[in-house]
Subunit: 109 residues, 2 copies
């Protein structure tokens, strides 16, 4: 269906805004790699219904991203941390070990 | 009604998830300081209807925060930046001017 990496990143950020049912099916399909037919059987529904539900979830995730931009911000953040640490290292003699430690710390901000 | 500072912080984070109409009324009430009666007149509706709409918006904002925790994270981020810069300053002799510059940079991450 859609790009699995993108879906996984969007789910990390916005899954709490989906319903329990939606989360369950997205997890079965993308994390546990169950087929549409298998999920349909588990839910006593049609393959098409599951296909439509997953498509709707994906659209919802994209809609949240278009409004909150959390994925875009997290990608920019990563770049800015690298730039910041490079500047810091150029100006002050920071140990490489500390740079690694700081990078991890800032990524978790 | 509710705490204006909290509402303002929540609106900064989640207003994009409210409708245009909800945003308009929240802005009139909290930013432009219009009364419920004034907003009701502008919308050709009752004071009670506006009161209920604002209350519903506030609940929606709280619900988004309970799921995404963006406000909680931003408060923690501020504390962690201060700790990080203190550690950095203690270990390396960083200029005060640079500390101020770094603080601003990290706050915008």
């Amino acid at each position: 269906m859609e790009d699995r990496v993108e879906i996984s990143l969007l789910m990390d950020l916005y899954s709490s805004l989906l319903t329990e049912k939606q989360n369950e099916i997205m997890q079965w399909y993308y994390d546990d790699d169950l087929s549409l037919a298998e999920i349909a059987e588990l839910n006593k529904t049609s393959r098409q219904a599951i296909h439509d539900l997953i498509k709707r979830c994906y659209k919802q995730l994209l809609s949240y991203e278009s409004k909150l931009h959390l994925l875009e911000k997290s990608i920019n953040k990563e770049k800015e941390i690298i730039n910041f640490l490079e500047d810091l290292k150029n100006k002050y003699s920071i140990d490489d070990k500390d740079i690694i430690k700081y990078k991890e710390k800032l990524e978790n901000l």
